[in-house]
Symmetry: C2
DNA sequence: GTGAAAGCGCTAACAA
DNA sequence: TTGTTAGCGCTTTCAC
């Protein structure tokens, strides 16, 4: 049952050629005559031979393995991205090795060691919560890194995000256009660039409309924290309560909506409007029907893959920082005000 | 910036010992004196040396890589499982290489080749839709396989599932106890063992109660198909419409509920009761509050990991087929009938 | 175009 | 306990 895997020498013997002829047959750019190539292929087929990628990587220095570092998969945006990443890399002859990591310093070390141990050709950091040091240490060890859905102030690191500042601004415009004036924000983790950019874009544009948010609470990208924040928003005087909430991610927005409807008994959008960020598939499900900023996962993944592959091919090229814009998708969790109090328009 | 990674020879020179001493220091069971060990560790630390896992695997025949083959990550059960798998393997010094695969024959070949190319130590098939042949060919190539959340009639393959037959039966009991008599089933893909087992357990137990389902439609584990099935169920005469639906997975159940509420204008559970299967986190969210059969993901993952590791350690051990039972979690999508027509009880 | 030979970084006998 | 010596399976000069 357990046939030992044949190696290139077995194939060479069977084909009546040298071992290097076998290697050449399986090396894309190498020079082999059609006849030997045919003999080798035939022998390989009969024996069920496939070159050992690991052995090859020893000599070429390319493992054809890419690491994906991610903190959690609760937020549907990440599994969706993971699926796309895996398919994209598979099509390029690469494969994705998964590393789960929290913020803990200990984790950072373990993950780093793992990355280096497996000689990964590149790293995608899809987590918002992993320490910055990790990316820097990978780069300084010669392993290209691309940050996905986050960026750092460090300009030496490649990063692909949506245009979070513009997205936040777009939400502000929309809520104002809907006639809202008492607006709250349950933000993404303020330790993450993504959370900060969305908040800043939102708050600044609100200010341009002459509006200050009634409250800004950090939702930590966590359902429970976001739910608690929602309760806080509605615990005070009636006058201080928001009539619209911008939530820093769809994942949290669902928790906010659940709390609003089922715990506080409020109607969406009649009593409170809600806007999210990401446009994960679930946002389009009728149960939520959430107005949200679309993050173009396809485009972001493609850009990330391309950037990483370029840096793998040539480590000397300059890092890229890409911002891929996405539209606001208006759904049923917000409703244009029939008679906007202030008549503010979008520009 | 790009320091070349040091190798064991560099460390040996620096520590003033032989290269094998370095190897021994990093090989758990090897015999090294405390003094050389200390010297090696110091030198390694200074140089930032870590053994190359790939080179090691060439000689040991263990890559410390496990493949996870999966078809899609839409169904929340799979990302949750993936996260647990990755963490569990990381704790054991293994890592997960992801392979996305559809049913297509072409995919089966590509995935198989990928698995063999990377010399993975073991394979977890978490997909319900990948061809049976793949698992068999891995095993016959000497790569241990464990099926996750599915099984095959082939007794030579290890498999870990929940007790799908018992789970289906439990749903039948519950719906009957709730007083329902016009019961429909939107099943999981009938090409999958999981889909068939749940259906059979359900239908057989219903029969024991003297009830025949009003309809059984294959939902293919797909939201759109399940939604279409729901429309079909309610397209006929009022008398032929179900007052309860058992759906073969939570993922489909959400689509069924959305269709029921927002397209057909029906109330759950008043007009129609709905039961799912899996108990993914979302099933507990108030927006759905879905009665469902709990699949113990933790237990299933642990059992799968353990089974796979055992077979990696000793390929001659017999395959295990494990069924891990989970309870029915009753939530708001079903309601006990105040006055059950037939007075059927659960046993 | 082809084979011989050297080595990628490591582990595992084998002597010492 | 230690160093020396063979490889693991492959790619890549280098002569031919």
């Amino acid at each position: 049952m357990t046939k030992p895997q044949p190696n290139s020498m077995d194939v060479a013997r069977r084909a009546g050629v040298s071992q290097s002829a076998v290697s050449r047959t399986f090396t894309p750019g190498a020079s082999v005559s059609e006849s030997t190539r045919a003999k080798v292929l035939a022998a390989a087929e009969e024996l069920g031979y496939r070159p050992n990628v690991l052995a090859r990587s020893l000599i070429t220095g390319r493992s054809h393995i890419v690491a994906l570092v991610v903190a959690y998969l609760d937020n549907q945006f990440y599994p969706v991205a993971l699926e796309k990443f895996s398919k994209a890399f598979q099509a390029l002859g690469y494969h994705v090795l998964v590393f789960m990591a929290s913020n803990a310093d200990e984790d950072v070390e373990n993950v780093l060691e793992g990355l280096l141990d497996y000689q990964v050709d590149g790293v995608i950091m899809a987590s918002v919560s992993i320490s910055n040091r990790l990316a820097e240490r990978c780069e300084s060890a010669g392993v290209p890194v691309v940050l996905f859905n986050r960026r750092q102030d460090d300009e030496r690191l490649s990063a692909v995000t949506s245009d979070n500042v513009a997205g936040g601004a777009r939400v502000a415009d929309h809520l104002v256009a809907c006639g809202h004036r008492r607006i709250a924000h349950v933000s993404g983790w303020s330790g993450s660039s993504t959370g900060r950019d969305r908040r800043n874009g939102f708050v600044d544009r609100l200010a341009a409309h002459g509006i200050e948010p009634v409250a800004i609470l950090d939702g930590m990208y966590d359902r429970d924290v976001a739910a608690a924040a929602t309760r806080t928003l509605f615990s005070g005087e009636a006058a201080s309560r928001p009539d619209a909430i911008f939530v820093g991610s769809d994942h949290m927005a669902f928790a906010v909506m659940d709390t609003l409807r089922f715990e506080l008994g409020l109607r969406i959008p009649d009593d409170v409007a809600v806007v999210g960020y990401d446009d994960v598939p679930m946002a389009g499900w009728p149960a939520y029907d959430l107005t949200t900023v679309h993050q173009p996962a396809d485009g972001m993944v493609d850009a990330t893959v391309e950037t990483l592959m370029a840096r793998i091919a040539d480590k000397t090229i300059a890092p890229r920082i890409l911002r891929i814009d996405g539209p606001l998708v208006v759904r049923g969790s917000t409703r244009p005000h029939p008679d906007p109090t202030g008549g503010h328009s979008r520009d």
